[in-house]
Amino acid sequence: MKRREFLKVGALVVMGTAAAASVAGIASAAQAAPPLTTLQPHQAETLLKMTRRIFPHKQLDDAPYWNVVHDLDTAAKADSSVAKVIGEGIEKLDSMGKRFVELTEKKQTAALKQIESSAFFQKVRTVELQSLYSDPSVWKVLGYQGPAYKFGGYIHRGFDDLAWLPNPPESASPKPA
């Protein structure tokens, strides 16, 4: 996959994430995730470290990153060319000195910087971008409340609760109905 074709990844990845999250609940998605079908344990471990370095949120534990690895596993199962890109990408990463998983975090980031324009890196980043930030457990930690329809919107849930600035006059911002 070429750089930044991420908008065309398709619905499967996103829907897969949503389904996994709803089954697993928001706290421990990884424990309820199904076993890997295509990725080998070393590949999965490498991808876990890699996804942590790509979007390194310190407040997040490994669970949402495992969800990304599962989405990559799903993508690899669905398309053998994806499995090949991942397999070869990891081999390349491991051939740059020590095995990737044994590097310090700083050196892992430096190694990824060297391959950031590769199809492998772009595929992982693309899937991670859509998966990680669509994960309700991540929303909770990063402070996004997400879908509002189920509780009637934000009209009674703080859409105008900001109190550290004065309220605009009614001529600019009328009261709600």
Binding site: Q130, Y133, G146, Y154, S171, S173, A177
Partner: protein, 522 residues
């Protein structure tokens, strides 16, 4: 729902069911004129919309492959997604934010007013504001635009509070919650706004006007509408006199059908509309239909855009409530002292976390980027929408080799930013930053343009047939029963969000087509 025979040449075929095509269909049906409305996408409804950004994107967006070229940053960030528009019943009126502003008088006189700007293909509109005013009034009433027709403005959300305080502190005067086609009170059988925050994902409360659940059902009630979904127009055909005879289209199984027509109206958005005309070339019209001027596909405009996001010490929760919750209008003026002609609006914008991660810095990764995303709850956002210059070389053309699933050339969208566009964007970024800095921003982020939502000008209206594709009624100069019925008609882009004007032109065009039918001119 009515079904008209494929050989019925008394019907008007409209291609596209968005703001232009959906409105035109209803207006014609109300007058007793039979319409076949071809829509490439599927039918959704508020019940099938989802408050989830990637899901909705895949459900609603036009994802057929397109290519890009030119100096605009879109070609680098989103090479196969030049536009963020919809393929669904209701078209991009499902996705739009609702801002409903009239084009200003001086903006209709773009060439006269901006004369002397090099490397442009400016013309004046063949229309005046005075001619359009009665139709603007009808459109505002139809759409229930706030701050018109005694409809109160919407309540401002947190994102607007930040904009309002910052903007008024730097001296801006016209700052309010906008003129929005979103119900602030129940109206027209639709509820008032729930402040869901998912305007772009299809409004689940139905408070935002969309042809999907206003114009199209109203048209269906007349018995004069035959809506055919998942029907992709492939070619407009003509007879030896050069009059349009109907539209060849593919159904969802790929089977081809030909629908005869008394007249054909194209409202497929500013990329597909010229593509359909170009793909309809024939031995009589080797350069495509209605293209004797050579202007079909040219003068592509997409507004000078960009966003400014401010990070604050305290929470904002910008995603709560109306996406385009407020506006600063002071810069939407003609004042060349700023270093550019044309004006721009500043409108609040918000992105949910999934799209914030995708769009705040397309392609970014690593600690610096996640540090920014960690501050997501404390962000406020605004969008720049300004007039861009028409250039003949900014064009939708047919790709020389790549074909779509129907074997037709895909479109390439070429856009070079004009020096005037660059000067305006740079100035607008600074003004946006000043607004947020005035209320204590700890960080201000200049965000590059998103894929284009305002696609304009590729089959423009012109007084002189050599300078454009259609007249002031959208009727093509070359073929009198072929009409342009969407934003492709725009002679200039103006600073305003285009939907209100697209709807206005559609209402006006319906009157014209009905008159042409009654005098048997078409």
């Amino acid at each position: 729902m009515s079904r008209f025979a494929s050989g019925d040449n008394s019907v008007i075929v409209i291609v596209g069911s968005g703001a232009g095509g959906g409105t035109l269909a209803n207006e014609l049906c109300q007058k007793g004129i039979k319409v076949v409305l071809l829509e490439a996408g599927q039918q959704q409804s508020p019940a099938t919309f989802k408050n989830e950004e990637w899901f909705a994107f895949n459900q609603l967006a036009w994802l057929d492959k397109r290519t890009t070229s030119g100096t605009w940053r879109i070609a680098r960030d989103f090479p196969n997604l030049p536009a963020w528009i919809c393929k669904t019943v209701g078209g991009t009126s499902v996705h739009w934010a609702g801002a409903s502003l009239r084009i200003q008088e001086h903006e209709f006189r773009a060439k006269s007013r901006y004369s002397g700007i090099k490397d442009t293909n400016l013309i004046d509109w063949p229309l005046t504001l005075a001619e359009l005013e009665p139709y603007y009034a009808k459109a505002e009433n139809k759409m229930g635009v706030t701050r018109t027709n005694d409809i109160p403005g919407l309540p401002g959300n947190n994102n607007f509070k930040v904009m309002y305080n910052g903007a008024t502190r730097v001296g801006y005067k016209t700052v309010h919650t906008g003129r929005m086609a979103i119900n602030s009170r129940p109206r027209d059988g639709r509820s008032s706004c729930w402040q869901l925050g998912f305007c772009f994902q299809g409004c689940k409360s139905g408070a935002k006007w969309s042809t999907l659940y206003t114009e199209i059902p109203a048209a269906e009630k007349t018995g004069n509408l035959d809506l055919r979904t998942e029907s992709m127009a492939l070619q407009i055909q003509h007879d030896h006199h050069g009059r349009a005879t109907g539209v060849l289209y593919a159904d969802k199984n790929g089977a081809h059908h030909f629908q005869k027509a008394r007249a054909v109206c194209v409202a497929a958005n500013s990329i597909e509309t010229p593509r359909l005309l170009l793909n309809s070339h024939s031995s009589k019209f080797p350069d495509g239909l209605a293209n004797s001027s050579g202007q079909v596909g040219r003068n592509y405009m997409r507004h000078t855009t960009g966003s400014v996001f401010g990070v604050f010490k305290q929470p904002v929760h910008m995603y709560r409530g109306t996406v385009m919750a407020g506006i600063v209008q002071d810069e939407a003026i003609y004042d060349p002292k700023r270093g550019f002609v044309g004006g721009f609006e500043l409108e609040t914008i918000s992105l949910g976390l999934p799209f914030a991660a995708a769009f705040l810095d397309p392609g970014a990764w690593g600690e610096e980027y996640t540090n920014l995303l960690d501050k997501y709850p404390n962000m406020a956002g605004m969008w720049i929408v300004g007039e861009d210059m028409p250039q003949e070389t900014n064009a939708v053309t047919l790709h020389p080799s790549e074909k779509d699933q129907f074997g037709l050339p895909i479109p390439n969208v070429h856009y070079d930013d004009h020096a005037n566009d660059l000067a305006m964007r740079s100035y607008a970024y600074k003004r946006g930053a000043a607004i947020y800095n005035a209320v204590g921003a700890t960080q201000v982020v200049e965000v590059p343009p998103y894929p284009s939502t305002h696609n304009l000008g590729t089959c423009r209206q012109s007084e002189k047939p050599a300078e454009g594709v259609c007249n002031k009624h959208g009727q093509t100069h070359d073929i009198k029963n072929l009409f342009i019925s969407d934003g492709s008609q725009f002679s200039s882009s103006a600073a305003e969000n285009p939907t209100l004007t697209i709807v206005t032109l559609a209402i006006r065009q319906a009157d014209y087509i009905a008159a042409q039918c009654s005098t048997r001119s078409i």
